[in-house]
Subunit: 205 residues, 2 copies
DNA sequence: TCGTGTCTTTACCAAATGGTAAAAATTATC
DNA sequence: GATAATTTTTACCATTTGGTAAAGACACGA
């Protein structure tokens, strides 16, 4: 019985849990929590519905597990923002990493966006305990860079919001972007250049 | 029978349709299309479920009606971007209007975001026929401003994306913004100042 | 105030959905 | 290869949900 986090999971258990979570990421990110059904997840995972409930206690536990895993991945680029690096380069690298994530992990981006869009019912605790302290820490770093004259002074909080917004936009609003940029084979590179120019002109002293 | 768009709707009909659409906007924007139930909408509207189905053919028709109405409101700020105005002022006014909309119409913003997030299943036609031509038209206007040297040259398409992303972020990710800006009574004004600075530094020649 | 058309309620229904019990099959252990 | 443990399937179930039929209440002009 694959219950609490006791003991080591078997080979089969690891494989099937991974399959389920991958399928669930597909389905949840596409249809939202309530829009997703266990049957869809089961089919996408190639398992029967009761079999899925053998590995997870229920729909909600799958979703929460996904959200927990996501949180680490999601914060990692901000974690690696180096207080001792070159200020402008650090910010631009952060933008690049976030943009790459929007391209490489669009399902994760949409899962996160959907959760926040609906008021973060299952993630408010994580935002408080995980994101908030990190956010304030890095805001202070950026503020110190501005104080020492290495960057133009703007509100670091809104600066970070604008980085999140502009990068995640390409994943979360992909359906719209695709319609408007339809015959452009150069989408990602164009976005990268634009954002580099934007944040450079904003921040270079 | 309030069927096709024939004849003039009675007083009661107007009032109840408005109530239903307002309630539906609440519910759909909070829970997404599938997450919303007719019972929730009915309760929020103060009507019985069958009574709601007397005014609308079904859940989908309510959603589509909402989306259609939204489209006009949503595009209006872009429509009023004046080719004969002062370029930088026009862009900055557009940013302001979009930011005001995020503050004043957050339900509409989230309804739109949720629809796009899920691949725009019920709005792809509108994007093609309504948004796309307008987008290209205004991109051309901005491009001409850049060509004549009134604005710094950047890709107008990504410029517009970044305006949409940064302004709508405050409505769509309000749950997150609220956690991170929790004791700031000055949220909207701070965002307005930041965005004005950002787009000014980006675009001023 | 009577009758006709508009609106609302009551009582349902079929399908979908999250979930369970227990038997059957499979895998690992000795 | 027998046995114990794990994994999967079959057959269900209760609730929720979008939707309907038809009777009843109401409004309003003649």
């Amino acid at each position: 019985m694959p219950d609490g986090a006791d003991k080591k999971p078997s080979r089969i258990q690891q494989r099937n849990r991974r399959r389920i979570l991958d399928a669930a990421l597909d389905v949840f990110s596409m249809h939202g929590y309530r829009g997703a059904t266990l049957d869809q997840i089961a089919e996408a995972a190639g398992l029967s519905k009761p079999n899925i409930l053998y590995y997870f206690d229920g729909k909600e536990e799958i979703h929460v597990t996904l959200l927990n895993q996501l949180m680490e991945t999601w914060l990692e680029p901000l974690v690696t923002l180096d207080p001792d690096g070159d200020p402008l380069q650090e910010i631009l690298s952060y933008v690049q990493r976030k943009l790459d994530m929007a391209r490489d992990l669009p399902r994760e981006s949409r899962l996160f966006a959907g959760e926040i869009l609906q008021g973060a019912p299952r993630m408010a605790p994580h935002l408080q305990s995980g994101l908030q302290p990190l956010f304030e820490e890095k805001c202070a770093v950026i503020q110190s860079w501005m104080d020492q004259g290495s960057l133009t002074t703007v509100d670091p909080r809104h600066l970070i919001f604008s980085i999140w917004a502009t990068t995640q936009h390409y994943a979360d609003f992909a359906a719209q972007v695709q319609v408007l940029l339809r015959d452009d084979p150069n989408g990602h590179e164009g976005a990268a250049q634009y954002l580099e120019a934007m944040f450079t002109r904003l921040l270079r002293p």
